[in-house]
Structure formats: C-alpha cells, structure tokens
C-alpha cells in the first residue's frame, strides 16, 4: 500500500501576539510547527504502515524552511518527503493550492490512500483535502476519527455533530483526520537520526508538472481586498467592592437583563 500524507507548516498560533501599540500581528520570532491535525494524519499513516508494510510519502508546499516539518515527518516514520517550493505557488488560495498539491500527487502517482489533516490552524478552512479529492476524482471521507484498512477497502468512522457514521470506500480514497483519531507522538532519537539520512526532495512547479495557469496569487479565484485588526471593544466596567457586593451586583445584572433562567 502506498500512502501520501499532506502536511503544512504553520505558525504556532498559540504564540501569535498583537503589538499593543500598532495593533498589528507580530510575526517575527513566532515558532512554526507541523499543523496538529496533519500530524495526527501522519501518525495514523505510520500505524497503518506497521500493519500493512505501506510506503509513506509526505508532501508539503511552502517556503524552504518548511523542510523542517518534513524532517519531523521523516523522523516520525515517513519514508520519503517532497517539498513543493516555488515562487509560482505563492499567494495561492485553497483552489489554487489544491491544483498544486493535486498536480504533484498525479506526478507521484501510484497511491492508494491520501491522508490529510482536517484543517490547518492558520487558516481553518478544511478545504484543500476535499478539493484535491475532487481534482483526482476519488472518494473523500472527512472528519475521520478511526480508520481500518482492509484489502482494497477502508472503513472509516466519520465524526458528526451528534455521533458518527461508519463509511466504507474502495481505494484509492482521500481521508481527512481529526485529533481524536490517535494520541500525538514524538520522534524517537533513532527516528531523528534516520531522518537526517533521508532526502527531502524539493520540487519546483515544473518538476511537479503542475499546470501553472491554475496556481499562485493571480490565478486564485478569491483575493483579499483588505485585512484589518478587529475593533477593540471599549473598556468594560470593573466591578469593585466586597465579594458579597460583587456577587450581588452580578446577580442583579442578570435579573436586569431578564436572564433569570433558573432562579
């Protein structure tokens, strides 16, 4: 079985801070991480590999430093890594990103299972997975919380708002994983050592044989008109006094607003 796992390197948004003076985002020095859902997808691929002797290829698109995330993936058990790195990809929206990733997957070829994280923490769109599945004309199962592989088939638990569905699909098939699918893992020392013996291939748009008229900022259907920091709410009122006074004041506030649900 051949598995391709798509990962993204993202800024650790828990560490993102706003400059209190300018109200803008401080990007310098913000550490980057492998997107958490993508990491769960990779760990799942490694679990499948242990059972089926699968080959795992990790694929990412990003600037040269995204190689770090791919090295981490190799240390966690991936067999080979490819980084799509070209100025032509810059500014791609999800449609254009799917064209780049999907194009590269066609070039890699010979895949049985494509694993993605459900969404990336910097954009939260959850779109690229399904878009790639459509591009490759293969079935998709999103929000996977459990994957069982059988011969030429997968059985997946798909999380819903009020439970889950059990869905079966033939392979090839694309699955997006949520964090509930497995426990996060850390690379072993042995894994890290091996990762540095493996090569991270860097592909340009031409090497990936991607249709250049469907990638990048200018070919993206959506464009950012402007971005702004959300207006700060005026300073709220601080309640002061003894604990008793404060508790009473809160309860009075609730009564005033007719939020007297239970009392």
């Amino acid at each position: 079985m051949n598995i391709i796992v798509c990962i993204k390197q993202v800024p650790d948004t828990n560490e993102v801070k706003i400059d209190p003076k300018t109200g803008t985002l401080k990007r310098e020095g913000v550490p980057t991480i492998m997107n958490p859902d993508d990491k769960h997808a990779l760990i799942e691929a490694v679990k499948i590999k242990k059972k089926t002797k699968a080959q795992i290829t990790v694929l990412s698109m990003g600037p040269p430093q995204a190689e770090e995330a791919l090295r981490e993936a190799l240390a966690l058990g991936a067999d080979q890594a490819i980084l799509l790195c070209d100025r032509a990809f810059a500014g791609s929206d999800t449609w254009a990103t799917a064209n780049a990733i999907g194009g590269a997957i066609k070039t890699i070829g010979n895949y049985d299972l494509l694993l993605f994280g459900r969404q990336a923490i910097d954009g939260d769109t959850a779109q690229v997975g399904p878009q790639v599945a459509e591009l490759l004309n293969i079935p998709q199962i999103t929000y996977a919380q459990k994957i069982e592989t059988e011969k030429n088939k997968v059985k997946v638990e798909r999380q819903m708002e009020d439970g889950y569905e059990i869905i079966e699909s033939n392979i090839p098939c694309l699955i997006t994983c949520i964090s509930e699918i497995n426990e996060t893992e850390y690379p072993t020392l042995k894994g890290i050592r091996q990762a540095y013996k493996k090569e991270v291939k860097v592909w340009s748009a031409d090497q990936a044989k991607v249709d250049k008229s469907k990638i990048g900022l200018l070919n993206s259907p959506t464009s950012v008109k402007k971005s702004f920091t959300p207006p700060a709410k005026g300073q709220g009122q601080t309640l002061k006094g003894s604990i008793k006074d404060i508790a009473k004041e809160i309860i009075d506030l609730l009564k005033e607003r007719e939020l007297t649900g239970g009392f």
């Binding site: 800024p11 948004t13 828990n14 985002l25 929206d93 999800t94 449609w95 923490i121 954009g123 939260d124 769109t125 959850a126 399904p130 878009q131 599945a133 459509e134 591009l135 293969i138 079935p139 998709q140 199962i141 999103t142 929000y143 059985k155 798909r158 708002e161 009020d162 439970g163 889950y164 569905e165 059990i166 869905i167 699909s169 098939c173 509930e180 259907p221 959506t222 464009s223 950012v224 008109k225 971005s227 702004f228 920091t229 959300p230 700060a232 709410k233 709220g236 009122q237 601080t238 604990i243 008793k244 404060i246 508790a247 809160i250 309860i251 506030l253 939020l259 649900g261 239970g262 009392f263």
Partner: protein
C-alpha cells in the same frame, strides 16, 4: 376617462360640458374626455384626480439568485440554514434577486414550507431514496448540476460537518472560489459579495472577494448570523428537480449511523453560558462552573486548556477549534482569554469575566470585569442564588 370636479377657482356653481352637468361641491366624477372638458381643465375650472400610482413592489429580476444549501438530517432542517436564509434574503434584496434554497432529501414533507417562512422565495427539491442521508458524491452531483443550470450568483452553506465536506468539493468541480467560516457578508458597490472572515485565530480580519468566478460561495458557522423571525404567511414557489442519480454514482457506502447517547451539548443555541478555564486548577474545582451553570440554567463552556487537561469533554470547548457562540450572557472564570478563545465568544451580548490577573486579555472583550479570586466569587454567587431560589 378622467375623474374631475369643479375647482374652487371656477366662478360658476355648475358647468355644462357637452351635455354633462357638473355641480360645484360634488366629489370627483368620471366623465368622457371631451374637448370641452379638456378646455375647462386648461382654464383651471376643473381639477383632475391624479391616478394614485399604486406603490408597486419592485419585481425582482429572474436568475442570478442567492442560493442556500438547505442541509437536513433525519428530515429536520439544520438551524444554521434558517440563520443563512435571513442573511441570504438581506443580500438578495440588495441585489434585487430572489432568495432560493436547495433541499435534498428522501421525502420533503413540510420542510419547504419551513424554508419559505424563514425567507426563501423559491425552494428546489431533489427527492430520492438515495438522498436520505448526506453522501459527498451524490449531493455534489445534484447540486453542481443545479448550479450549472440556474447560475446563482451566490451560494451559502453552513460550516457544519456536512457543509465543510460538500462546499469545497463543489468549489473545485465548479472551478470557483470558496471562503470558509465567514462572520460577515455584504454586497459591494460593484454588486460583489464582500466576505469577512477571521484569520490567525481572530487576530486579523480579512475581507475577501471572488471577482471573476461565479458563483461566489461562502460557508458560515452555526450561530454567527442571527435568525430572522418566522413568517408563516410568506408565499414561495416549490420546484421539484429530477435528480439524475443512481447507485452507480455512489463511491462510498454508509454502513451505520451512530447517535451518541450522551446529553448533547448545545452551546450554539444557549442563551447563557458559564465557562471555565485553566484558572480552576483541577478537575474537582470545575464543579464550581457546573454548579453555577445549573443554577442559572446555563450550558457549560470551557477554554481549550480545560479540555486538554481532561476536566471537561471537548464538545464544551469554545473558541477557534471549538464552537463559536453568541449567547445573551457569557460568564467566564479562570479564562485568560487567548485569541483563539476570544474568537469564539466575543460577539456574545454581555460578557462577564472573573480573573485575578488584571492584565488578562479576556478583560479586553468583557463588559463587566471582576478582578478577584474566582474561588471567592463563584461560591458566593452560588450561595446567594441558592438562597434566592
């Protein structure tokens, strides 16, 4: 035939116009349009009743509709659809086009009526036993064919587990843009859809356009748009589609659907949420939040830290990777207010925050700030609520 009467400026008390006698003081009468009549009008002897132009409601133009995907599960319309219909209607009125909905189901019952009463002018129904439950391939096929045929200019989806599976697949098939999790939708001067969404966990807001591709498509999280009042008297058109689907189109099979028996946490629809975070310190202390929530008949919310520490189940999590909520009251204790958390609760009507750190970012969005130890304030509130009841 004009309606006339003798004007005040006419010196005569009566006029004979070609055999028809009008008397001063009488109300408007309809008379033939004779030359004498015209002359009397010109002289100012007659007043003409201006035909009151009926305030005719401007007809909406056909086509280029604003379409809402009417997600149903177990033949119940998802609440977010009703929220979207209100927004769709507002956009459609600005564009002077119709608000429509597309419903895929095995039996439509009265669902189309419900969609109309919440704002749809037209409901397209695709009915087939194969469409009972959501299936990516079949739903994508039916909806993409409908979109290609009717060419709506805007399509809106709820950012549910189904909507987030379907919308991107459709966007790629239709080769158009899709903007996820919009918090604001409006129409620009150029009649384009202006989509506002948070980026970097709500640190930044981005305004996004899809200028050259149609339809312009967005997903919106449940609870973000306000639902409009139901109007049972609204009239609308129901159009049955003939979906061209068969078992051959199915690439995946649903083997089972499992409903989880635990009590459903309904943060999105809650009027009051009492939320706790890292400041509670340990699992046992989270009981303070539960007790207060019970007394206030509120739902229990939490920050990611409380979920990660295992004090509360993940479905209570409010924020970027949890739920977006907008209750009438959001009362939180021991939550510092990381941007991810604020992104999920800052549009609550009233926010009360309890935290002993005066610099906690949660106070930036709170209406009422209590810089105190939650272990003093919460028990006191619980006590006085118990006494009061």
């Amino acid at each position: 035939m004009p309606k006339v009467r003798i004007s005040m400026s006419c010196p005569e008390t009566q006029l004979n116009l070609g055999g028809i006698v009008l008397i001063k003081g009488n109300d408007f009468e309809e008379i033939p349009d004779l030359p004498e009549v015209q002359q009397a009008i010109d002289n100012g002897y007659l007043e003409v009743l201006e035909e009151k132009k009926e305030e005719k409601k401007q007809e909406t133009t056909e086509g280029a509709e604003v379409l809402v995907f009417a997600e149903q599960r177990n033949n119940k319309i998802s609440r977010v659809v009703l929220e979207l219909l209100g927004k769709a209607r507002e956009l459609a009125e600005k564009l002077n086009v119709k608000t429509t909905a597309i419903l895929l189901t095995d039996k439509s019952n009265n669902l189309s009526k419900e969609l109309i009463s919440y704002g749809a002018d037209k409901v397209y129904i695709a009915e087939s036993p194969l469409l009972k439950n959501y299936q990516t391939d079949l739903y994508t096929k039916v909806i993409s064919e409908h979109i290609k045929e009717t060419k709506p200019q805007i399509v809106l989806y709820g950012a549910t587990h189904i909507g987030r599976d379907l919308a991107p697949r459709l966007a790629q098939r239709l080769n158009t843009g899709l903007t996820a999790d919009c918090t604001g939708l409006d129409i620009t001067e150029e009649n384009l859809l202006l989509q506002t969404r948070p980026a970097f966990g709500g640190n930044l807001m981005a305004q996004i356009l899809c200028q050259k591709h149609k339809p312009q498509m967005s997903t919106v999280r449940p609870g973000v748009m306000k639902m409009q009042d139901k109007d049972e008297d609204r009239k609308g058109e129901i159009i049955k589609l003939n979906p061209d689907i068969s078992e051959k189109d199915m690439t995946t099979r649903i083997i089972d659907i499992i409903k989880e028996t635990k009590k459903k946490v309904n943060l999105e629809e809650a009027e009051i949420i009492v939320s706790g975070g890292r400041g509670l310190g340990k699992k046992e202390n989270f009981k303070l939040i539960e007790d207060l929530a019970k007394l206030l008949n509120a739902e229990i919310g939490s920050s990611r830290a409380a979920v990660d520490s295992g004090w509360v189940e993940k479905d209570h999590q409010v924020g970027q990777t949890g739920k977006t909520v907008r209750p009438k009251l959001y009362l939180c204790a021991g939550i510092s207010g990381a941007i991810q958390h604020k992104a999920g609760m800052q549009s609550s009507d009233t926010i009360i925050a309890i935290n002993k750190d005066p610099d906690a970012p949660i106070f930036q969005v709170a209406d009422f700030c209590i810089v105190e130890d939650l272990f003093k304030v919460l028990p006191e509130m619980i006590e006085s609520l118990k006494e009061g009841s």
